[in-house]
Structures are given as C-alpha cells and as structure tokens.
C-alpha cells in the first residue's frame, strides 16, 4: 500500500467544479499550502469551502478567493481578509458562520457517523435562527448537523505511506477531524517516514482516513502575528 503521489498537482487533479472542500488550519498555522497552490493552478470554480478561517489576502485560502474559485464558505472567523469582505458585501460569496466549537464538533460528527448533536453554543443568538432548540436538564441546546465534504486537504508533520499521520503543536487544530469527514482525504506531510517509524500510540490520524499523500515542498513557516520578548543584551 502506497498512498504517496508524485506531486500536489496530481493529488488535486480530480477536484472538479462545484466540489465541497474542507481545508485544515487555524489562521496560517497547519495549512496545506502546497495542495492549495496546486488547486489554484488547476482552478476549479463554484467551490464550497469549510475551514476555520479563509487565509489572509494573497496567502493560503486567500489565493482561492483571488482566483474566484469559491462560491460559499463555512467557517468561524474571517477577519483577516478584505477581499472576502467585499465579496460578501457584493453578494459574490455566501458566508455561513458557526461558533468555532460547533464547527469543530460538526466536522467530527461528520466523520463519526453522527448526523446531529446538541450544543449550548449560540442559544439565543443569530446562530440559533432556523435551528431546533431543545431542553435537557433544564438548559437549552441547539441541534447542530454534521458537516462532510467531497475532499479534505490536511497538513501533517510526519506521515508514512500507509497514511498514518502525526501533527506538530498547534498546527494540529482542525486537521484531524477533517481527515475523517471527507470522501477523499489528501494529506500534505512535511516529512515522510517508513511504516513502523511512528509509534502506534502516537499516531493521531490512522491511515484508514487518508487516501492520498504528498510530501510538502520545503518552505519557511509564515507567522501571522510575530510576538516576542526582547533578549537582555
């Protein structure tokens, strides 16, 4: 079994117009940049995307906006993207906002065969509009539905050719759930290791969830907000 493909372009080649895509990452952290860039080269249109953020102008998923590839987006925070703002205001893009925990849980539910569940987040707010409210133990909850996708593009730190993945620090974020919730999951790994090198206790995404893999091109990690302490001199 070898799920590793030669290039990101080959890996995304069958992502067609109108597809629904989950894309991993929190801000610019843990984002599958090579896969996104390959997708922008192929440039399918009318996509529906599910991702916590939408990159920033000219970076990560921001590139997909510039290329006019996205018709609708579901996420929790899109504050770093002026182009998105103007597209939404001009009715060019349909934006659905969900509480971040609801977004995360709905994606997990999609992968776990749970069609719906109840959460207290958003009760009494705009998020509750059109959703069933139900009381359990004297408290109100919203019924939220699972999210699934045709493709998930995820970013991992290490992986083996069987599709087993390990993530690094906060670059984990939405990637593990998305890997479970799409018909075809494509993983971009920084480092390909031999099967058996990853300790079975430490594998975060078992290979069953991953259909295709690519090895990421070396690139420096982009930092969205570089905060630091000055060293004493």
């Amino acid at each position: 079994m070898n799920k590793v493909l030669e290039s990101a372009d080959i890996a995304v080649n069958d992502i067609a117009d109108g597809a629904t895509l989950m894309i991993g990452g929190f801000g610019l952290c843990g984002v599958p940049d090579d896969l996104i860039e390959a997708l922008v080269r192929k440039c399918p249109k009318h996509l529906s995307t599910i991702a916590n953020n939408m990159g920033v102008d000219g970076r990560a998923m921001g590139l997909m906006l510039t290329a006019g590839m996205v018709d609708s987006h579901t996420g929790s925070y899109v504050g770093e993207n002026k182009l998105l703002e103007s597209m939404v205001l001009q009715g060019q893009l349909k934006l659905t906002l969900l509480p971040q925990g609801t977004l995360a849980e709905s994606i997990r539910a999609g992968g776990a065969g749970i069609p719906a569940y109840f959460t207290p987040a958003g009760v009494g707010t705009m998020v509750a509009e059109g959703k069933e409210v139900r009381e359990f133990g004297g408290r109100q909850y919203l019924m939220e539905r699972a999210l699934t996708a045709d493709f998930a593009l995820v970013k991992a730190w290490k992986g083996d050719r069987l599709g087993n993945l390990v993530y690094r620090k906060t670059a984990r974020n939405f990637n593990p759930m998305m890997a479970t919730a799409a018909r075809i999951t494509i993983a971009e790994v920084e480092e390909l290791v031999e099967p058996g090198e990853l300790d079975g206790d430490q594998i975060m995404t078992p290979g069953v969830y991953v259909k295709r893999m690519i090895v990421a091109q070396p690139r420096e990690k982009v930092i969205e907000r570089r905060t630091s302490r000055k060293r004493a001199t």
Binding site: F26, G27, L28, C29, G30, N52, G75, S76, Y77, V78, G79, E85, V88, L89, L95, L97, P99, Q100, G101, T102, L103, A104, E105, I107, R108, T119, P120, A121, G122, V123, G124, T125, M126, V127, W157, Y167, R168, K169, T170, A171, R172, N173, F174, N175, P176, M177, M204, K221, V222, I223, E224, R225, R226, T227, S228, R229, K230, R231
Partner: protein
C-alpha cells in the same frame, strides 16, 4: 497607569491557585502578566493547547506554536496539544474554571454582545459563543464606556448577542460589578472612583451593597 492595565490587574485577582483559564484577545490576554508568581494558573488556548507560556524570545518564534489570537507563544512544563474538537470538548464540557473576555455590550441580565455590529463587516464569532455558553465563571474585562463616553453596560444589549445570561462578573477601570438574579451589584470601586460616578456611566440601576454609602435615586 493605563486604563487597560488597571482592568487587567484587577481581573488577575479573580484567579485562584490551580485554576485552568481561557483568556480572550486584548485586555484579557494582558491579565496573565499580573498573576501572582506563587499562584499556579494554567492557560488554555482554544486552538488546541493547555499550558500557554509567554511570548518567545526574539528569534525563537515557531509558526506551529500560536495562541488563539494567532500570536507566537511558548510551552511551559506540562503543556499539552490537542485538536480543535478536543479543545472545545474541554470548553463545552465545563472543564475550564474561568473565562475572561472583552465585550462591546453587557446588560443587566448577563447577556453579552461582542461579535458583530450590524451593517459592518461580519468577521465571525470564533470561539466566543462556545466559551461564554460553557464557562464555569465568565468575567467580562472591558473599558466602562465606549470611546465617546457612552455606557457599554446597558438595560438590554442592542447588538446581536454572543450569549444569553452568561456573564458573572464585569471588571472595568471604574468598578467590579457582579451579575445577580436581582440585577447588577456594585461590588468594588477602583481607587478614587465614586459610586455615583459609576452609576452615571451605567445604564441599569446598580445595587449598592450596605456600607457603600451611596445615595442615588
């Protein structure tokens, strides 16, 4: 002292040894600077980290190690990482002792608005709705009034809500106010501030505990 620093310093006093705490962006993030050194408080960041350390030394920034405000941070001894689903399971499940957030408006029922202004661009609620719905104790740390001096503590929030009946405590540069079933109770005044002054900048009638000696009608 800077107004924001006054608020953050006072909010830090709400910490207890052994607390697990989530801090929002802005003034709430500053609170961690004022936790007493002999107190062990563990910070959670909803992007998937328990045990958030200070900003890294210049040059040590790691793009894979950020907080929910997307700022580079560091680990402490015992830091753990997890997925966003596991992070919000921790939050939704009520395992975080204290959550401190900023606000645009709070009202006398403890309703909170801090995520959108109609007509302006909707940036999204991020994790705020999950945090306010499930915190064991929710503190709003904010300036007492808007930039043009209008009350932010209102009878009824005018902006779209982030959460319904969720706020426990409001800490501003003027006062500490508790949300109670009877209404907002003025619990503490910052040095040099009078109860009358606080009331004049607060829309709902405040409850004054005995001894505050305020005479308002």
């Amino acid at each position: 002292m800077d107004v924001r620093e006054i608020i953050a310093r006072r909010a830090a006093k709400e910490m207890r040894d052994g607390y697990y705490v989530n801090l929002g962006i802005g003034i709430p993030t500053m609170v961690s600077n004022y936790v007493p050194e002999d107190m062990e408080v563990t910070l959670q960041s909803e992007n998937g980290m328990l045990g958030v350390g200070p900003y890294p030394w210049e040059g040590d920034e790691d793009g894979d190690l950020i907080n929910a405000g997307k700022e580079t941070v560091t680990e402490v001894q015992g830091t753990s990482f997890f997925s966003s689903a596991d992070s919000f399971a921790m939050i939704r499940g009520g395992h975080i002792d204290l959550s401190i957030l900023g606000a645009m408006e709070v009202d006398k029922d403890g309703n909170l608005a801090n995520w959108m202004v109609p007509g302006k661009m909707v940036k999204g609620m991020g994790g705020a709705m999950d945090l306010v719905a499930s915190a064991k104790h929710l503190i709003v740390a904010m300036e007492h009034t808007t930039r043009d001096g209008q009350p932010k503590i209102l009878n009824h929030c005018s902006l779209p809500l982030t959460g319904l009946r969720v706020v426990n405590t409001i800490i501003t540069e003027l006062a500490v106010i508790r949300v109670t079933p009877e209404g907002l109770r003025l619990e503490e005044l910052m040095p040099g501030v009078t109860a009358e002054h606080v009331q004049s900048l607060t829309q709902p009638r405040l409850i004054f505990p005995p001894g505050f000696g305020a005479k308002l009608q």
